[in-house]
């Protein structure tokens, strides 16, 4: 007993009509990428030395660590969470790896392993605080952030770690950053030109590819997006919501610790003052990523483009002699514009 009206529309179903792209839709989808390319073009013409392999590699290198952290935040954003502790996990990882190498004089492999385990454990605790103790995500990870910022200073009484430093008990630390560990921050692979691509850039690309593939191509990623959109519906469709949320925070913690290891390897010392900007920069990259390809949701590809966009902008402006203190202003402005792209222009804005 189908009525006439529904039969008419049914015949359309089979045709798969592609909706025609209006100007606004086009702007929402490709606007940000067009803007990025435009920026590259602009700086290539007006900033001397901007166009070139070394400059390009420098941009990638400058955003590699933030980018890796941003991918972690992206994963937590997907399940409708937020990880504010990534910056302090990264600096804790920086201090921990330095302590293991310089004070305990253990191997590079041990240092890396312990950092990754630390990241996973912090992520696990964050996740359990959120799903078991029902602490709101922002508050749980904010608390963890404070805790870690304090914790990483206790073993050295608030001092940076370097070979030859005096420990609280009066001994002198004799260990050194091993060659293998420093290579993580300083080795460059040949790519057409000798010694071109740093390890951190390779790791960014690999991590980006893995996170993208996991979120977009596997059923686990799909379920995580479902949880982010409607947790109750996902749960009633058989998803183990708590387990996926904990997993997201663990991924975020591990990626943040990777960022910290790379930072330690680049600096060659456990610098207590490093990594202050990591949290804000990586959150900005992840949020800018919402605007890329009109996704209007957290996504790995967008996050990397977002990180690169900031890198290109800062590199270009620096080459055009813009003073360093304008950098945060520029980042903030970009973030605001990107958020307008996401929420005002896209379908998200219309729904509310």
């Amino acid at each position: 007993m189908q009525s006439e009206t529904s039969n008419d529309t049914l015949s359309d179903t089979a045709l798969h009509v592609k909706p025609k792209l209006t100007v606004t839709e086009f702007a929402i989808r490709y606007g940000f990428i067009a803007l990025t390319l435009g920026l590259v073009l602009f700086f290539s013409i007006f900033a001397e030395g901007f166009m070139g392999p070394y400059s390009a590699v420098f941009i990638f290198q400058s955003v590699a660590i933030t980018g890796i952290l941003a991918l972690g935040v992206t994963v937590t954003l997907v399940v409708d969470g937020f990880d504010l502790s990534i910056g302090s996990v990264a600096t804790t990882s920086l201090m921990l790896s330095s302590y293991v190498l310089v004070v305990w004089e253990l191997s590079a492999v041990t240092a890396v392993g312990m950092c990754l385990a630390m990241g996973a454990v912090v992520g696990l605790i964050n996740g359990l605080l959120i799903v078991k103790m029902r602490v709101p995500d922002l508050l749980a990870t904010l608390g963890m952030m404070f805790l870690l910022v304090g914790l990483q200073r206790i073993p050295t009484q608030g001092r940076s770690i370097a070979t030859g430093m005096t420990l609280p008990d009066g001994r002198v630390a004799e260990g050194t950053f091993s060659k293998a560990f420093l290579a993580l921050g300083r080795h460059r692979f040949d790519f057409f030109i000798d010694n071109l691509i740093p390890v951190s850039v390779i790791i960014l690309l690999v991590v980006g590819l893995l996170v993208w593939g996991f979120m977009e191509l596997t059923r686990h990623g799909r379920v995580m997006y479902a949880i982010g959109s409607n947790q109750r519906a996902a749960s009633l469709a058989g998803a183990n919501v708590n387990r996926y949320k904990v997993l997201a925070y663990m991924i975020s913690g591990v990626l943040a610790s990777v960022g910290g290891i790379l930072l330690a390897a680049r600096l060659g010392r456990g610098d207590i003052a490093s990594g202050n900007n990591l949290l804000l920069d990586s959150v900005a990259a992840a949020l800018i990523g919402f605007a890329v390809l009109g996704a209007a949701k957290p996504n790995a590809f967008g996050t990397i483009i977002g990180a690169l966009f900031i890198g290109i902008l800062l590199q270009g402006l620096t080459m055009m002699n813009a003073p360093y203190y304008t950098q945060d202003f520029v980042k903030g402005a970009v973030l605001v514009v990107a958020l307008v792209f996401t929420f005002a222009l896209s379908k998200r804005g219309g729904a509310h």
Partner: protein, 508 residues
């Protein structure tokens, strides 16, 4: 025709290429409740949105008490005396504020109402409004502590504080229990007697029979029938709305198959009477009962959302005691939950992704998803249920309510199950979509046991082979849907609770 009536003449509205309203003429008299009926997409909501200032008509005039009326914003409509209570209750109240502030909200936001708040005066005013509405509540109570019905009444009281010339209610009973609905009806009776024109939109025949002075049917953007002489011609109104008669569905009861799931000595709550029940293949069982009768608890234990206090279950002869929803789904027991917006629809996903959520492992190899397999499945579901859409890639939010519900039911029909439980599958859908969904459930039922939880007796009679009545967390009646003794069913529905008479009236 009276001078103080609301008159609509030749109202048209076009959205893009769609003529949504094609010349609506309608008069709403004071002291009369007009029920507006129409299938999803007939233009009801658009008409309401024009009246309450959300949209502007492309052509036509509205007069309100002789004055021309063309509001450009909801607040303008309210000031002119047209007040709307929307379907979603929480749009009408602010949960974190107390009742007094809610009732006085429009006064608080009005320009020139002073900077400081005189709490005593504020509460006294609010009490006056509440008393006028015979709303017996403590005005200092926070709205979030109230039940749905009280919230709804607060929203209406707030609306009535404007002394409206026209009050519009959009499916106000959709989240109320029978008793709560009765309270609302009594209130509406008083408002009508006080001389307000009321436009009442509903799909529920029981509400319409109770409340209507007059029925207006809409179809394809025009008024297709006006029924105002007593006794009202309900059949005619439905016919005018659908374009064909609402023939009573022939429930042809097929032979039930082997038992699929057996429940023995189950008690749902401590102290509730244990019951046993067999559900068979090729059998559609409707479970009916009041809000709080244990229907939901019953569905929960089948789907692993709760555990029975005592008793055991077996599925195809094997013990069945799910702890998680995943275990239930893997055992072939599916639950299509009620309240699709909060429990089922994933707004960020398109149709195909919404359909496959519970079954992603069947559409993936080594965790990697196979989009083609997902889309094929989705296209089958779209064709099977007659979902009106452009393609399986449409955003779920772009579909009408009835079609969204079809997608949600389609999600659980898309894979074979042993037991399918549908909780209020006809919630907020028009009669046409309800028929489509009902047919599909019946048509696919031969290999599984099917349980449908419905509060409306009409729906139970329409879909089921067997009607089970629950009260006080146990089964109090089991009827073959074949010349059912309705009076007896209704007595059982009412159980031992005191409001017996109210409910019987509502359920019919």
């Amino acid at each position: 025709m009276r001078n103080d009536a609301v008159k609509l003449a030749g109202i048209t509205k076009v959205f893009g290429a769609n003529d949504v309203l094609r010349g609506v003429d309608l008069v709403l008299n004071p002291g009369e409740i007009t029920v507006l009926m129409g299938a999803n997409g007939a233009g009801k909501s658009t008409l309401v949105k024009i009246l309450c200032g959300v949209h502007t008509a492309n052509a036509g005039t509205i007069t309100l008490g002789g004055e021309p009326f063309s509001p450009s914003s909801p607040s303008e409509a309210i000031r002119a005396g047209v007040v709307t209570v929307h379907q979603s209750i929480n749009d009408g109240v602010i949960p974190d504020l107390d009742i007094a502030s809610n009732l006085m909200l429009d006064h608080l936001t009005a320009p020139g109402s002073g900077f400081f708040l005189n709490k005593r005066k504020h509460r006294a005013e609010a009490r006056k409004i509440a008393a006028a509405m015979e709303l017996n509540v403590d005005v200092t109570q926070t709205v979030s502590e109230l039940g749905l019905a009280d919230r709804q009444l607060v929203a209406i009281a707030r609306a009535m504080a404007h002394k409206p010339k026209l009050l519009i209610l959009d499916e106000p009973t959709s989240s109320l229990s029978a008793v709560e609905a009765q309270r609302l009806f009594r209130l509406l009776d008083r408002l009508r007697d006080a001389g307000a024109a009321i436009l009442y939109i509903s799909h529920r025949m029981s509400d319409i029979r109770r409340i209507a002075d007059r029925i207006v049917s809409m179809r394809d953007g025009i008024i297709s029938g006006v029924f105002e002489t007593a006794p009202l011609d309900y059949e005619g109104a439905v016919k005018a709305m659908l374009g064909h008669a609402m023939t009573d569905v022939d429930v042809h009861i097929p032979e039930a198959g082997a038992p699929v799931i057996r429940l023995s000595d189950i008690s749902l709550r401590p102290g509730s009477k244990p019951f046993s029940l067999d559900l068979h293949a090729n059998e559609v069982v409707a479970i009916t009962g009041l809000v709080g009768s244990g229907k939901t608890d019953f569905a929960n234990i089948l789907f692993g959302l709760g555990q029975p206090i005592t008793g055991s279950m077996s599925l195809h002869g094997k013990p069945y005691h799910p702890i998680t929803q995943r275990q239930a789904i893997n055992a072939g027991v599916f639950l299509c939950p009620k309240d699709r917006a909060s429990n089922a629809v994933v707004q960020d996903f398109d149709i195909s992704r919404n359909i496959t959520i519970p079954f992603l492992d069947r559409h993936s190899a080594f965790s990697f998803l196979n989009r083609r397999s997902e889309r094929t499945k989705a296209q089958c579901t779209i064709t099977d249920l007659g979902i009106v859409c452009q393609s399986d890639g449409d955003e779920i939010g772009s579909l009408s309510g009835g079609n969204q519900q079809k997608v949600m039911v389609g999600r659980w029909l898309s894979e074979a199950s042993n037991l399918l439980v549908l909780d209020e599958p006809f919630q907020g859908v028009d009669i046409k979509a309800r028929r489509d969904i009902g047919h599909k459930i019946r048509e696919t039922a031969d290999t599984r046991a099917t349980v449908v939880l419905v509060a409306e007796m009409d729906e139970a009679l329409e879909i089921s082979d067997r009607i089970i009545v629950m009260a006080d967390h146990t089964i109090v009646g089991d009827h073959r849907n074949d010349n059912v003794d309705l009076a007896r069913v209704l007595t059982q529905v009412a159980g031992q609770q005191s409001e017996t008479t109210d409910k019987t009236e509502h359920a019919i």
